[in-house]
Structures are given as structure tokens and as C-alpha cells.
């Protein structure tokens, strides 16, 4: 949490402003994923399904009818939804709520699965939502981009919501439910023997996670002022998962750190890629790299994930959290107990 605060001080120029805002939204999404993945030990690829739901929901509710006529020209004008026009805050909350409700409904079916089938099912969910979004032209303008969304998200908004989600994530993790979930993550049979209902705890985490994702979606749509299902699909899912894994799925700090690292790293890599391409044209680098460099960031990122998983399977933070305790440790002379964390990505016993 404190990390985020430090970063807000950094806002200097406008370009950086934008990067940091995106980063905060990514932090939000990453932490949202952590609520579920970190505590349950199950991999989920469905996050962006809820991002999409949330984004569209927020669009439906925040656009005035005039704006809707331009942005969503296929929406029937006599729908109740058409006339809806709420302040951004309400629209955002509603988006999160809708995403959470959808998550809850689907979650009832999903929590009965575990391990690989579960992850595949979340993958299927992502695809289903993507397909539906691509087809349901009245609501989403199909595969075309919805343009002209008013910009409601700025640095402050992104930061605030990210901070709120971080707090919620912490609260959940340390709560009774979170503890139960983590117990079932470690050893499901043992947890069941003391009365932990793994499916229920998973469901709660899943729904919360879906809500957070929806929230992120709403923020995002109103930041870049456009939305299309194409842009919120596999590649972005990969990014979020990367953020979480590199940072460490077991801790909220990990999610934050991961998001920050990946966001900044991506920026750097993108600039590097541009530089390489430019240099290629002008200097002799062209003979060394005879093709246009594209997707460079992805490659590095994928390699990074693989490396991290080989060396530090629990991520860079190894599941530890930055709490007030850890700052006290910096003060000499004070003996402070710090809470150790259990590896969220299960090691076979």
C-alpha cells in the first residue's frame, strides 16, 4: 500500500501521468485476481471476462442518451437502459456489482472443480464472454470499438480505487473466510476435517475477484475512452497473470509489485522496441536484425515468467507482505516478529 503512495509523488509530466494511471488500474486488476488466485491456489484465466462485463456495464450507465446514439448506434432507443444516465461513481459501482453477480452465478458451477479442469473452465468462460460481447451488437456494438466514452478516470480516481481494492484484498486475506480458504489451499482434506467449506470460501473469493475485475473494467473504459472485446482478451489476460506470478501470488504486495514491475517494464521494452526499429532503419543494425521487431515485450515477459517460475516459484515477494512490521524492522534495536507466509502455489508434499 505504501508503495503506491510513493508512486503518486512521481507524477511529473503528462505522459508519465498516463502510464502511471494505467499502472494503477493494472494494480487494481492484479490485486483483484490475487484475491482469488492467491488465496485459493487455483489458476484463473477468467478475469478479463468480468472486466469486459464491468466495462460495458459502466458504459451503459454512464453515457447520456445522446452519447449512446453515437457510441452504441444499434441499441434500441426504447430500452430502459438507453435512458439511463448516472454519475460516474454510481455507474462504476453498478459495473462492479453486475460483474460480481455474474461471477457469483457462474461461480456456483465452477467452485466444484479443482486444479486443471477449473482453470480450463475459467478459460472457457473468458471465451464465452468474449464471443457474446462480439455478437451482441445492440449492447456492445459487436466487434467494433465503442468510441466516445467520456473520460472520468484520472490519476486520482485510479489511485483511489486501486487503494480501496488493496485494502479489501488485505482485509479478505486476513479475515476468517480468507484464512479458511488458504487452509483449504494448503491441504483440502485437513481443512475439511475441521469444518472448512472449501467450495463456499472459494465462491466468496471468486465473486469478490469478479467484482474487482468489473471495477477495473469500468475504470479502464472511461480512461482510454474506447472499448472493444478484441483488446481485452488473451494478451491482456496473459499480462495480468504475468503481473501476479512475477510479483508473487500469495500476497497482496506481490500483486502490487508485480503490476508495477510489469507495467514499467513494458513501457521500457516498448521504447526499446521502437528504438531498435528506428535504429534498424538508419544504422547498420539492420543487417544484424533483418526483420521488424514486434512483440518484443511479449517475448521478454514470457521469458521472465518462465524464469521466475523456475527460480522463485512463489514470485519475487515469496508471499510475504509489506506491513508496518517490516518497516519497524528497519529500526535498529527493535526485535519484531514478522509473519511468515505459506507458499500459495502448492509444493507437492
Amino acid at each position: 500500500m505504501l508503495l503506491i503512495a510513493l508512486f503518486t509523488v512521481y507524477r511529473g509530466n503528462v505522459v508519465f501521468d498516463r502510464v502511471v494511471t494505467v499502472m494503477f488500474i493494472n494494480v487494481l486488476l492484479s490485486v483483484g485476481l490475487q484475491i482469488f488466485m492467491g488465496n485459493s491456489g487455483l489458476g484463473s484465466f477468467g478475469q478479463y471476462a468480468f472486466v469486459t462485463i464491468g466495462a460495458y456495464a459502466s458504459i451503459w450507465f454512464s453515457l447520456t442518451p445522446q452519447q449512446k446514439a453515437l457510441a452504441l448506434p444499434d441499441m434500441p432507443k426504447d430500452w430502459w437502459l438507453y435512458g439511463q444516465h448516472q454519475p460516474f461513481l454510481v455507474a462504476t459501482l453498478f459495473a462492479a456489482a453486475l460483474a460480481a453477480v455474474c461471477g457469483g452465478l457462474i461461480g456456483v458451477a465452477l467452485v466444484r472443480l479443482r486444479g486443471a479442469p477449473f482453470t480450463i473452465a475459467t478459460f472457457a468462460l473468458l471465451i464465452v464472454v468474449n464471443r457474446v460481447a462480439l455478437q451482441w451488437v445492440e449492447l456492445t456494438r459487436g466487434s467494433r470499438t465503442v468510441l466516445g466514452i467520456p473520460k472520468f478516470t484520472d490519476l486520482a480516481t485510479a489511485f483511489t480505487w486501486a487503494a480501496i481494492v488493496v485494502v479489501i484484498a488485505f482485509a479478505f486475506k486476513e479475515s476468517t473466510v480468507g484464512l479458511k480458504l488458504r487452509a483449504s489451499r494448503e491441504d483440502e482434506a485437513a481443512a475439511a476435517s475441521i469444518g472448512v467449506n472449501a467450495a463456499l470460501t472459494r465462491w466468496i473469493a471468486w465473486t469478490l475477484s469478479a467484482g474487482a475485475a468489473g471495477l477495473g473494467g469500468a475504470l479502464w473504459a472511461h480512461f482510454i475512452q474506447q472499448y472493444s472485446p478484441h483488446n481485452f482478451y488473451l494478451r491482456e489476460t496473459f499480462l495480468i497473470v504475468a503481473m501476479l506470478i512475477i510479483g508473487g501470488a500469495g500476497s497482496v504486495t506481490g500483486a502490487v509489485v508485480g503490476a508495477v514491475l510489469v507495467a514499467l517494464g513494458q513501457e521500457q521494452l516498448r521504447q526499446l522496441e521502437n528504438w531498435i526499429n528506428a535504429e534498424r532503419m538508419s544504422s547498420g543494425l539492420g543487417t544484424l536484425i533483418p526483420f521488424e521487431v514486434r512483440g518484443f515485450a511479449d517475448i521478454v515477459l514470457a521469458l521472465a515468467i518462465i524464469l521466475v517460475l523456475i527460480r522463485w516459484p512463489t514470485g519475487i515477494t515469496r508471499g510475504r507482505e509489506i506491513t508496518f512490521d517490516s518497516f519497524r524492522r528497519l529500526w535498529p534495536g527493535k526485535a519484531v516478529r514478522s509473519r511468515g507466509e505459506i507458499d500459495p502455489v502448492r509444493e507437492p508434499s
Binding site: 487455483l42 466444484r112 472443480l113 473452465a121 472457457a124 517475448i299 518462465i306 516459484p313 502455489v345
Partner: protein, 299 residues
């Protein structure tokens, strides 16, 4: 009669598609059974096979050779994949391995994007892929028939391999209880490499037919096969090879059925409906249609 014609048509295309799907699922489950690894990069094996087709197709070799070579390339890729990417994480949790495979998949796609081209390229394909012949009012695509035959052949060959050869036995034992198998002296590395080789083989064959159907290859061509493989194996039961095959055929029949009989307006939602049905199946039978020998209590 029209209804019978339609019925036979449906049967043939479903069998063909189902066989293809079954092969896809098999390639995935063979690795999963032993390692509990869901190999996202399996799709990229198909992609590699496809690009092999492209590469070798440019040479003057007869197409059979081209096909054979690209399958071999896929097999080699599979074994390499295991050696380089998966062996270091072999002892980690399933989730770790899964994410590794996801990262590997993205990596391979990006490399292909970078080095070859993001645009779809059409490899040289023999004309039998588009020809069809008519029997008594039925139009049957030759590739469908070949698909059915090859599908059945592959399944039979695999079954024989697993039942009659030493490695096959080792694979089955490993899928049952890997630790015990190793304790009995079976070399783990060889078994796992064999599994990945078979996976690559399946991917190679799938690549032939999949790209033969669509006519193009591109970096993300592996996405749909791997997705189908996932769904088929989850529906059929990931713990058993028979489940994978069953799941493949079920999915094939389902896809064809939806395509033929869904009303026009809803047709675009076909994928969504299909996955919806899958989720329902999972709700009722989380272990898949064919239960493994020992099923853990799912509460």
C-alpha cells in the same frame, strides 16, 4: 430420402470432426495423465506443425513427404519443449506448471509473430483436401473420409502401442502412479519424453487436418485446437485416455449438431452455446464423463 441423407451427412462429418478432436484431446491428456500438466503450449505444437507444412511445402518434395516431415518436426518440438521448459518446473505445483506452459505458449507465438509473419500464410496442400464425390445424393468430402480413417488408425495404433510395447506399459503405469513407477526402476525422463513425443505426434497429425480444413497457418493457429482439446478432455474426463477420446467425439458431434440445427439467428452464438453446455456438464459431473479409477471426493 432427404432426412436419411442429412443424417448420414451429419454422421460422417461428425465422425471426421470427432476423430480430429479426439486426437487433439489425446495429445493433451497423455501428458496430463503423467505429469498433471495442462500444456497450453500444445497449441503451439500444432502451430509448429503448420509452419513445418509451410516450410517443407515450398520444396519440391511430394506432399506425403512434406506431411511426414512436419509431423516429425512437431514431435521433435514436443520433446524439446519438455527438455527445456518443463523439466525444471517438473516438481512444482500444477498451477506453476500450467502457468509456465501458458508463458511458453505466448513466447512461441510471439517468436513466430516476430520471425515469420503475423499474416496468415497458405501452405501447399494437395487437392484432395477440397475434392468431394457424390454417392446417391450425398456429397462427401474426401478429406472427411480420410479424416475418419486416419483418426481410427491413430487410435488403434496408440492403443496397440500402449498395450503391447514396454514403453507403452511404462506410460500407463506412470499415469497411474508415477512415484511407484519410478521406484520400480522405470526411467522417468524417458517416459516423460515419450509422452511428449506422442503429444507432438498428435499435434502434427492434427495440424495436417486442421490446416487442411482451413487452408491457412498463422501464429495463433494453435489456439482453437488447444481450446478444443481442453474442452474435450475436461468433458470426457482428464484422467483417462478413453475419456479424452470420448470427449473428442462428443464435442465433434455436438459442434456439428449445433452447426446444422441451430436456428439461423442464434448461429453466431454457437461457440457460446457449446461452452455453456460444457459448463453444465461439468456442473453435473465435475470429473468428466468417464470417471477415473480412484476419484477424489469432490464436496
Amino acid at each position: 430420402m432427404d432426412a436419411i441423407n442429412d443424417g448420414i451427412q451429419y454422421l460422417i462429418s461428425s465422425l471426421s470432426l470427432g476423430g480430429l478432436y479426439a486426437l487433439m484431446a489425446l495429445g493433451l491428456v497423455i501428458v496430463y495423465g503423467i505429469l498433471r500438466l495442462v500444456n497450453f503450449a500444445y497449441g503451439e505444437l500444432v502451430m509448429i506443425g503448420g509452419y513445418g507444412l509451410l516450410l517443407f511445402g515450398d520444396s519440391p518434395l511430394p506432399w506425403i513427404m512434406v506431411a511426414l516431415l512436419s509431423v516429425i518436426v512437431a514431435v521433435i518440438a514436443g520433446v524439446l519443449m519438455e527438455r527445456i521448459a518443463f523439466r525444471p518446473v517438473r516438481d512444482s505445483s500444477p498451477t506453476t506448471m500450467l502457468i509456465t506452459s501458458f508463458a511458453l505458449s505466448t513466447l512461441l507465438q510471439s517468436v513466430a509473430l516476430l520471425t515469420v509473419s503475423p499474416r496468415p500464410r497458405a501452405p501447399r496442400l494437395p487437392s484432395i483436401f477440397v475434392e468431394s464425390f457424390t454417392i446417391g445424393g450425398l456429397q462427401i468430402k474426401i478429406v472427411d473420409l480420410i479424416g475418419i480413417i486416419i483418426g481410427v488408425l491413430a487410435l488403434v495404433a496408440l492403443t496397440v502401442f500402449l498395450r503391447r510395447t514396454v514403453i507403452g506399459l511404462a506410460l500407463r503405469a506412470a499415469a497411474d502412479d508415477f512415484t511407484m513407477t519410478r521406484l520400480l526402476g522405470v526411467p522417468a525422463n524417458r517416459v516423460i519424453a515419450a509422452a511428449f513425443a506422442i503429444s507432438g505426434l498428435m499435434a502434427g497429425i492434427v495440424a495436417l487436418f486442421w490446416i487442411g480444413r482451413t487452408g491457412q497457418t498463422y501464429p495463433t493457429v494453435g489456439l482453437q485446437p488447444v481450446l478444443i482439446a481442453f474442452i474435450a478432455s475436461v468433458v470426457g474426463g482428464m484422467e483417462s485416455l478413453r475419456g479424452a477420446v470420448l470427449g473428442g467425439y462428443v464435442l465433434g458431434f455436438l459442434t456439428m449438431g449445433l452447426q446444422t440445427w441451430l436456428p439461423q439467428g442464434v448461429n453466431n452464438y454457437r461457440d457460446a452455446v457449446m461452452f455453456g453446455i460444457v459448463i453444465v456438464v461439468l456442473l453435473l459431473r465435475p470429473q468428466g464423463l468417464i470417471r477415473p479409477a480412484y476419484s477424489r471426493e469432490v464436496r
